[in-house]
């Protein structure tokens, strides 16, 4: 048995899904764990039985930093690591929050932005 190696791969399919407004992660039919970014076999157990599922979008801030820039270079902005409910971690940003206003442990919700270059950001969930 060999892996399918022609046609759009997991990375291209992920981007097509994002363009269509769906944020997906892969889950493993053998070990049940999720993988992100997308890959050709499960990084946890090596199984090829990966399927795409639409992510819940529910996350928790694992860590954060404010990247400092001069105003003429775009000013300061936040960066966050977010743990998704599905068990994967993303490097991302929290929109609508100042550079230093992203509490570790805060609940966040995913949203797709970026038009032709779609990517996933998060918003703070009002408790």
């Amino acid at each position: 048995m060999t892996l399918e190696d022609r046609g759009p791969g997991p990375d291209a399919i992920y981007r097509e899904e994002l363009l269509a407004g769906r944020f997906t992660v892969q889950t493993c039919g053998d070990c049940g764990q999720s993988s992100f970014p997308p890959r050709v076999f499960c990084k946890h157990c090596g199984s090829a039985a990966l399927t795409r599922v639409e992510a819940s979008g529910d996350g928790v801030v694992y860590s954060t930093s404010a990247v400092r820039n001069r105003p003429d270079k775009g000013g300061d902005h936040n960066i966050a690591l977010v743990d998704l409910a599905e068990g994967v971690r993303l490097l991302t940003r929290v929109d609508g929050a100042g550079p230093t206003e992203v509490p570790i442990g805060a609940r966040v919700k995913a949203r797709i932005v970026g038009g032709d270059v779609p990517h996933v950001v998060f918003d703070l969930v009002k408790e």
Partner: protein, 385 residues
């Protein structure tokens, strides 16, 4: 206890530096060449005696080949494995294996860069393009380390004052080292009040960007005493890496040094209490705290409290980063070479005002990427064999 076959199998018999700090007008290869010449001369050898080359570079795709050509060496064995700033620390282990296997007899381990004079900014393999990171505009590698520091602070109560202790200690050592790039007083308040770069890091939490090259000559144990300088023996080495992208690091408060360290200690038949002087890759202040924990010098989470009160500064109970570190001595992109050279100088007793008194053992811990590749080496004097 049975000795690992690599314990004591090689010795460093020559070290050299060149262009550390600023070397305007010099190419990277000229700095590499000068460091090689200085190390080979320190060993009482000629360049033509070198038959193993373990070289790395931030800008050359085939570093050991390019370096060998420039130095006029036709090696019987060479390796240019690129695992970031820990590469040369790994090369000490690889040179020891190659010598032990008879593939070469006299190895040169080397790195150099002119990045301060050439570009003024960090030239680093850690900045390679990742489409899953790039849209969010991280400033790599700094942002990744800042995320680790922020999580460590959240989880263990580590403070910016404790991070600042690391920078202040490094400057204290640099002030005793005439070759260090940064000199002068630096207080906790100076560190806390500096311009923020990537929270929780201010300017002084981040390593320097300098020029510089370093080289070491490694031979088999049987020849260790045939050279003019006191040999320093390789006692143990270990490698580990778990991730390349910071989002793939399982727990960003625990590095793979927690595996590389025990591997090196096991080979050496030692434990942290046996180590006299520590050279830990301090790209950022959090690094020193993480590596003190992960190498077993204090419990996980206690690193911030451990460094308080000048414990790792000159006059403290544990000499750490005695050249002034990447924070205050030298950091030309990949710093592993320079902690190796400092450890050898300490164990030779050549470290002048910053000499750790009576040091017989040293640990060198290299880091690469974004807390990615971790490589530990343990060295000792003849008394430790």
């Amino acid at each position: 206890m049975t000795h690992h076959e690599l314990r004591g199998a090689s010795a460093v018999v020559g070290v050299g530096l060149a262009g550390c700090g600023e070397a305007p007008g010099r190419t990277a290869m000229e700095l590499i060449g000068s460091a090689a010449w200085n190390a080979v001369t320190d060993a009482g050898l000629k360049m033509t005696d070198i038959d193993g080359v373990f070289g790395v570079s931030a800008v050359h795709g085939m570093p050991s080949v390019t370096i060998s050509e420039y130095l006029g060496i036709k090696p019987s064995y060479s390796d240019g494995s690129m695992i970031g700033g820990s590469s040369n620390v790994a090369h000490i282990l690889q040179a020891t294996m190659a010598i032990r296997a008879g593939l070469c007899s006299t190895a040169l381990v080397i790195y150099g860069s002119n990045q301060k004079s050439a570009s003024g900014k960090l030239v680093s393999s850690a900045a390679e393009f990742n489409p899953y990171e790039q849209p969010y505009k991280p400033r790599f590698p700094i942002t990744a380390y800042a995320l680790a520091a922020a999580r460590h602070m959240h989880q263990f109560g580590t403070t910016r004052q404790q991070l600042a202790e690391v920078a202040v200690a490094a400057r204290g050592w640099a002030n005793l080292n005439p070759e260090a790039y940064m000199h002068g007083p630096l207080s906790i308040d100076d560190v806390l009040n500096a311009r923020m770069v990537c929270d929780p890091f201010g300017l002084f939490d981040c390593c320097l960007v300098t020029d510089g090259a370093g080289a070491l000559v490694v031979v088999g144990r049987d020849r260790a005493k045939d050279f003019p300088k006191k040999p320093v023996y390789f006692l143990g080495g270990g490698m580990a890496h778990w991730h390349r992208s910071i989002m793939q690091m399982p727990d960003i408060t625990v590095t793979a040094a927690s595996e590389s360290g025990p591997r090196a200690f096991e080979m050496a038949g030692m434990e942290p209490a046996d180590i006299d002087v520590l050279e830990l890759y301090d790209a950022f202040t959090i690094n020193t705290i993480l590596f003190l924990e992960d190498l077993g010098f204090c419990p996980k989470g206690e690193g911030g409290r451990f460094v308080e009160g000048g414990r790792i500064a000159p006059g403290g109970s544990l000499p750490v980063n005695t050249n002034g570190g990447g924070l205050s001595c030298v950091h030309p992109g990949m710093y592993g070479t320079f902690i190796l050279v400092e450890a050898i100088r300490q164990l030779r007793g050549e470290a002048g005002d910053r000499q750790a008194k009576g040091a017989e053992t040293a640990i060198v811990h290299g880091n690469g990427g974004v807390l990615s590749s971790q490589v530990t080496s343990i060295f000792g004097t003849e008394a430790t064999l």
